[in-house]
């Protein structure tokens, strides 16, 4: 009897908590009813798929994706936006009348789970392709498996394996090259040293390029692996600024989960004007710009994609898709990555002649080249069976200004301090991958 009472009380308490938390939930926005993504593609307008405006009703084509979702970092935004793009395509004739069915799984950094989900997608769910994968570790876990099945994955990467194996092709450039871009921006502005800080689990890969830039410029450089979550932001920021010295450069490589603590500490300690600040892409968004007006014009962020509000065709389509199909996803780089991943996948699907199978789709993916998108400085490509793919290697520098993100330097190639970049650029000219013709 007593135990029943206890069970009941426990259940009631839990139910009460859930009700309380439901009250905190933010509601979903209303969707608009305008026809999105329809019409004829032109130099000033982008459309979804064929742009017919008619719903696709044939047999679905299955695509799959796996995104990391851990308390604190949510990469499923990328997959969810890809799903929104696919919905737009489905409302515009689909792929020759066939709608796309997108199966998105999330993983919690458990390698067994990552491998199991990959197997499920390929062998049980029988998808023809994998699109939109983003994780701290999934590239490393699954690239050999995908290769053995003939799959080429279009995603957004963080890990070295995402940019160093034949299986993955990313719409972004990853922390290593983004940090190099930030380092170049600081060197252009006369930084006397280059200090770079990244999460310790990716630091060796993410920071190596910055050290090479420092060496080439003849200034001191040092990498600081930081343990997440950051509990002592004040010490960390002090250490970075002290190491940089007066007029030196400090590059932060963190997402909006961790960067605010460091930036807040810099403001509190009065260190904002002591060094020149740089960063990789993740903190380039309007929210951060509004929070950190103290860094206006002082934080030079390397941004892997174009500005969402620049009025170019793909960015406009991005905003339109957001409004109709993904109103709860605020405009951000993750959304852009999902947009591009889906766009490239659709392009590959549309180019398949004959039956759409795993073999034919992935072959079409590998054949992709000179894919124009106004979100990137240069056309995107896969380039067939290259040993690795780094198609996004030219981008812009932005900064905060009055609560917005504004462009400072346009379309500068990432410095070829890595042999992989030199080789990639050779391939680009040799195979005519992104010259736009």
């Amino acid at each position: 009897m007593r135990s029943t009472k206890i069970k009941l009380s426990v259940m009631c308490a839990v139910a009460g908590l859930l009700v309380l938390s439901a009250a905190l939930a933010t509601g979903a926005g209303a969707t608009s009813t305008a026809a999105v993504g329809s019409g004829k593609a032109s130099a000033t307008k982008s459309v979804c798929g064929a742009g017919t405006g008619k719903k696709a009703t044939g047999k679905p084509i299955k695509l799959g994706g796996i995104d990391m979702l851990i308390p604190g970092v949510d990469f499923t935004t990328i997959g969810k936006f890809a799903a929104a793009y696919f919905k737009c395509v489905n409302d515009n004739g689909g792929i020759n009348g066939r709608p796309i069915k997108y199966i998105l799984y999330n993983e919690q950094l458990n390698p067994t789970q990552q491998a199991a989900l990959a197997k499920k997608l390929v062998e049980s769910d029988k998808v023809v392709g994998i699109v939109g994968n983003t994780s701290f570790t999934e590239c490393g876990t699954n690239w050999k498996y995908y290769k053995s099945k003939g799959f080429t994955v279009i995603g957004a990467g963080v890990q070295a394996e995402c940019f160093g194996t034949p299986t993955f092709v990313e719409s972004n450039m990853g922390p290593r090259y983004s940090n190099i871009g930030a380092a170049q921006a600081l060197v252009r502005r006369g930084a006397k040293s280059l200090m770079v800080a990244s999460p310790d689990t990716i630091s060796a890969y993410a920071d190596g390029g910055v050290l090479k830039v420092a060496q080439a410029a003849g200034i001191p450089g040092k990498a600081f692996p930081i343990k997440l979550p950051i509990t002592d932001a004040n010490s960390t920021i002090l250490q970075l600024v002290q190491a940089a010295g007066e007029g030196g450069g400090v590059i932060l490589d963190f997402t909006p989960d961790s960067a605010p603590a460091l930036m807040q500490a810099a403001i509190a300690q009065g260190l904002v004007d002591k060094v020149i600040w740089g960063s990789s892409t993740p903190i380039a968004n309007a929210f951060m710009a509004k929070q950190f007006g103290a860094f206006d014009g002082k934080m030079h962020i390397n941004q892997e994609f174009g500005n969402i509000n620049d009025g170019s065709p793909d960015e406009n389509l991005y905003l339109a898709i957001t409004k109709k199909y993904a109103p709860s996803i605020s405009p951000q780089a993750f959304g852009q990555m999902g947009f591009m991943d889906a766009k490239f996948a659709v392009q590959a699907l549309l180019s398949v002649k004959g039956q759409v199978t795993a073999a034919s789709y992935n072959k079409a993916v590998r054949a992709l080249k000179n894919v124009k998108t106004s979100m990137l400085c240069k056309p995107w490509y896969v380039g067939n069976n290259l040993a690795y793919h780094i198609p996004n290697n030219t981008d812009i520098t932005v900064t905060y200004k009055a609560g917005e993100v504004v462009t400072e330097d346009k379309c500068i190639p990432i410095q070829a301090v890595d042999p992989e970049l030199t080789q990639t650029r050779k391939w680009e000219t040799q195979f005519n991958l992104n010259t736009g013709k």
Partner: protein, 353 residues
Amino acid sequence: MLGLTGSPAELARGVIGRSAIIVAFLGVALFVVPAVLGGDWIKTLTAVAIYAVVAAGLVTLYGRVGMISLGQIALLAIGTWTATRISYAADLPFPILLLVTGAITCGVGVLIGLPALRLSGLYLALITLMAAGAVNVVLTTINFPNGGHGFTGRTSTPDLSGLQPVGRPGIAGGDTAYYRYTIVVCALMFLLIAAHFASKPGRAWASIRESEPAALATGVNIVRYKLWAFALASFTTGVAGGLLAAQLGQPTAFGFPTQDSLTLLAAALIGGIYSLWGAVIAGAFSQLAPFLFQAQWGIDPNFLLIIFGVGLLQVLLTAPRGIVVQMPKDIANLGKLGAHLFRKVTGGSRSPE
């Protein structure tokens, strides 16, 4: 558990009965499951077996001796790290690799356990948690070996395509074959632990758990037996770590967060901390449940945390012996209730209750 009451015939039947269940379970695991379930299940169930062994260490330490270790995942990480480092450095046959890994992890576990033995109860639990926290910091700093030289075996310019992951045994390269290999090795670990329970160490541990002064009075060397328990739990966890290294191929520090030690203990308590079958259930909870939730049923994995918490409270308050004891009881009760209702329905009209 030992079932020491009853006539020799009853005892014999008890032992045969339990062995039959174990053999049947293994048979299903080894032969029926791979034939029926797909590759994704096989990978997940391999992890279930591995974490079941880790949970068995918890059963040994807490269920048998009364010591809580909140650092088992840290030991698992050490085992995985050791196996990875060794496999890059030397080309050992896989069983030898497992034994060496188990031995090294055993050494580390004893090293940590020795000074901690002076503490008891809550302090022992918390010091193991602190040790786990420290190990986690070291692990995320030095990361896992990836083909480099030196003690840490880590290079900042790894050869990605040519990288040899931790090699699986020659006879068990594929996922299904490796799954069977893992089941066999894990069953051996369980056998090792069960053998301890059934013999002198098991009796010494039981007396220590009941009352240390009484154990001392009967001449039990408490320090030696406590250390033995630590050594056993660390050895089996180390072997599990070796198995995990080959399952993952290229392990990373992300796989072993400190809080996993707490959630594994929660899973072990829910499964049943006094029984080795409870350890199997714990392994299923910690590895199979997320897969089921996510891939099979499409439920938000955060629900699992909530269920864990509620389950833990439930178990602690109403069923301290865990699911493994409670579920058969509940099913038996349900069966009795069903039989009673059936009788009422078919047994004619009695006076209504």
